[in-house]
Amino acid sequence: MDRETVERVARTAHIRLTEDEIARYSSDLAEILTYFELLDEAPGNDRRGINPIEVADVLRDDEPRMEMDPDVLLRDMETYERYVRGPRLS
């Protein structure tokens, strides 16, 4: 994979790479993608399931319920006045 593609993919994935990492992943991923070319010659199939078994929708009754106390969930979170703390949006 060329250097520009690695940088573009890393930006999309929110990963910052050092110069060494760009060089290493570029070479590793090129090798792996060459191996993936085997897929081009593999037979196709009409089916393309998301899961290896048939799954069915399972819906519960539409009744409100509280599975977990919000205070328990907040226990280990960095919070400010019961709001989760996060970075600035702009």
Partner: protein, 442 residues
């Protein structure tokens, strides 16, 4: 060894083998009926849960995974969370941000991965079931390297609620133990429908019955590229199976060679979306610089705490899902999965199980692993990946030892939902095979 003495020596044993990241400090088993351990990607109320990643350091989940809750309800006491490759990304348990478990048969060698700590615990402690998780072979590989029995059931047989996802369409929770009978016993405890995981809700009932294996198919593709000692042990094991009255036939499974690339495309695609949730907020590491803009904050935390292999798989999975590439990779990989499933179904019409060695070599030394490229390491999984891709249940049974005394394993694969054939096979094999336990000292 009594439960009390296991607990009393836990600290010392763990400092030698490093099977646990978090562990209990209790020395009194109380009214526990049995002790167990669980891979560290299964959430547990009373123990830190990191999935081998520094980005989750400090995470104490407020709930138990369904499997841990069911083991506790059955009288189990959780004694430790087992070390693993970060998020399950590896074959040797060496891709960890935390501790790397050591093989109980030779401390200079790996336990296999990614459920390496679970296989280590199952080998070292007597009467000890350990819960593992398999995405591409992460139960059978370490079970093979550590000389224990291990089963990954059908995809959907065991609820994944509380599992820290790697690849949602591939992850399966199973059991490792030095006793064959434990596989049946504990899968029966953890299996069954759970409304918190819809994929567990379509399963037929798991009946407690014997289903003897009468014929096995050995795919030609499964006996290529083996080391000499694995080949020899496997040949002897086939003779033993014939002596047990089981028919052995060689078959062609041409789809198997496509399973590897299809698996790695699906696994990394799913992993890269699953790992998007780790941004330094809500749980785990939350020590980023809040004065940064959100893009920079997320990138900073993720770049600092994800390990090398996690970054590689995130990059790979993000790439293969990108516009312009997803038809060639992700969509094709889903078709190939169906082709592999069809191939297993075809062979399993005439046979009760498909059989091959579990790993092409015995547990490697840590210094040899460090010389392997990422692709070399991926390719080591070629025997365990196809069954995982297809979601069919598979079992490792120890079948021999090499000249250095390192365990060798073979893997039986049965049809969807037919775990009983594998339980029965393990129980029958155990009567014929002289299992060696490692010499444990602490």
């Amino acid at each position: 060894m009594s439960m009390r003495s296991t607990l009393e020596t836990l600290e010392r044993v763990n400092s030698k083998y490093l099977m646990f990241h978090a562990k209990t400090s209790d020395t009194d088993p109380g009214d526990a009926r049995f002790l167990f351990s669980a891979k560290d990607n299964l959430t547990s109320k009373d123990m830190e849960t990191c999935a081998g990643s520094r980005i989750l350091e400090g995470y104490f989940p407020p709930f138990d995974a369904t499997v841990i809750a069911r083991m506790r309800e059955a009288g189990g006491k959780l004694i430790g969370k087992t070390n693993m490759d970060e998020f399950g990304f590896g074959t040797f348990s060496t891709n960890s941000g935390l501790e790397v478990p050591r093989n109980p048969f030779d401390l200079e060698r790996a336990c296999g991965g990614s459920s390496g700590g679970s296989a280590c615990a199952a080998a070292v402690f007597e009467d000890h079931p350990s819960l593992g998780v398999s995405t591409g072979g992460s139960i059978c590989c370490p079970a093979s390297f550590c000389g224990v029995y291990g089963i990954a059931p059908t995809y959907g047989r065991v609820s994944r609620y509380g599992l820290i996802d790697y690849g949602n369409s591939l992850d399966k929770i199973g059991v490792l133990s030095s006793k064959a009978g434990d596989l049946r016993r504990y899968i029966n405890i953890i299996a069954g429908r759970d409304e918190k995981d819809p994929t567990s809700c379509v399963q037929p009932e798991l009946k407690d019955e014997r289903t003897p294996v009468r014929s096995v198919a050995v795919p030609k593709e499964g006996v290529e590229g083996l080391s000499k000692n694995v080949e020899a042990a496997f040949t002897n094991a086939l003779d033993e199976l014939r002596r047990m009255g089981i028919e052995v036939e060689t078959v062609d499974m041409p789809s198997l060679k496509y399973a590897m690339p299809a698996y790695y495309v699906l696994a990394t695609s799913e992993a890269s979306t699953n790992l998007a949730r780790y941004v330094g907020m809500r749980y785990g590491r939350q020590d980023g610089d809040l004065s940064l803009k959100f893009d920079d904050y997320f990138s900073d935390v993720r770049s600092r705490y994800f390990g090398d292999e996690a970054k590689r798989r995130i990059l790979l999975g993000t790439f293969t899902r990108m516009v312009g590439y997803s038809d060639r990779y992700y969509s094709k990989a889903r078709q190939v999965r169906e082709v592999v499933i069809d191939d297993y179904k075809r062979v399993l019409r005439d046979h009760d199980a498909v059989l091959a060695p579990t790993m092409p070599f015995t547990a490697p030394r840590f210094d040899d692993i460090s010389k392997m490229s990422a692709l070399d390491s991926y390719k080591a999984d070629y025997l365990t990946v196809p069954a995982n891709l297809a979601g069919v249940p598979h079992l490792n049974v120890p079948c021999g030892y090499d000249g250095d005394g390192m365990p060798i394993g073979m893997q039986f694969v049965a049809d969807h939902w037919n775990e009983n054939a594998l339980f029965t096979m393990a129980e029958d094999w155990e009567k014929e095979f002289d299992l060696r336990r490692p010499e444990v000292s602490a």
